[in-house]
Subunit: 193 residues, 2 copies
């Protein structure tokens, strides 16, 4: 991706995380990214194109900052647990990403053109979690009775819900992490439990 | 509550559910409710006062449509399960309420004056669920090892997350309900399990 394009997407994520999608104007984004509005239209076509690429950028970035120490091959359960817990961290990139992600989800309730992209990103995330649970079942670190696809969809949904409660001031970050840890235990069971 | 006041709050919920909080203008609300803007200011003071009362109205209304058949006294577990499942229904009042609730939560990430009221409403909901789980534990229908406050906070958070995924088109209603049913089993355990 060109440097200018990346700069624009970083600026768009920052603005969405700061004030929401619905206040976002291309002129304002141009000022934030220090580029011309023409360059934004050249790279992204229209506002809908810009939103789609921003959602993709946010998802890709999340894959990087939620990259756990534990290997998905040698310890898929630990990898999954760390990946989900890394979504609940008080560091600028995570707060910015989670705020923007939550905002895009909330906006998709009203703006149908965001839905397909959001559904695809959600699906990829759920699929990856499902695959990790299946691998952990093969490795014997997750109970065989667990329905991988269900637990994966619930755990990722819970992470979104906890992020929203935390970012909107209804629960603390440490409480959100504690609740997620408890869910990992009750969803994935301990082997032999 | 005066009839006019209720009409204004119903109209505000409708508008928030239809287009979001951030596009809501008092002039537009006046038109929707067929009252004067002066009457709105008279009843609610300012936009922040209107938002607080709307949030309260939404929470109160949810208490009515999520009122289960099962008695909270004789079968607190069934009462809790029904109460949460009733939040995931394709009927206009629920869709409107859930859309507005999700939108208010998303907006509170950016507008700090909504946070206190939202925290209070969330707290009341979680407290009520906690109390039902404790009663069910006494009645022997929920496992004694379950931490009531944790399960209550997780289940209500999951309901919010599932509502958002459903309303934003990332999952179907039947799948959301299926996932919630599974969570009720894994969170509350079966007695003797």
């Amino acid at each position: 991706m060109s440097d200018r394009r990346t700069l624009i997407l970083q600026a768009a994520t920052r603005l969405i995380a700061r004030r929401g999608v619905r206040g976002l104007r291309v002129e304002e984004l141009a000022a934030e990214a220090q580029v011309s509005t023409a360059l934004i239209y050249y790279h992204f076509g229209d506002r809908a194109g810009l939103m789609r690429r921003t959602l993709e950028f946010i998802s890709d970035r999340a894959e990087r900052y939620t990259e756990p120490d534990a290997s998905p091959e040698s310890d898929p359960r630990a990898h999954l647990e760390q990946m989900l817990l890394l979504e609940l961290q008080d560091v600028p990139a995570v707060v910015e990403n989670s705020s923007a992600w939550g905002e895009l989800r909330a906006t998709a309730v009203f703006e149908s053109d965001l839905r397909e992209q959001l559904r695809n990103s959600t699906y990829e995330w759920v699929e990856y979690a499902t695959e990790l649970i299946r691998k952990a079942q093969e490795a014997g670190t997750v109970g065989a009775e667990v329905i991988a696809a269900d637990s994966a969809e619930r755990l990722t949904t819970l992470v979104e819900g906890l992020s929203e409660r935390w970012l909107s001031g209804s629960t603390s970050l440490s409480r959100a992490r504690e609740l997620l840890r408890g869910a990992l235990v009750s969803e994935l069971r301990l082997p032999g439990e």
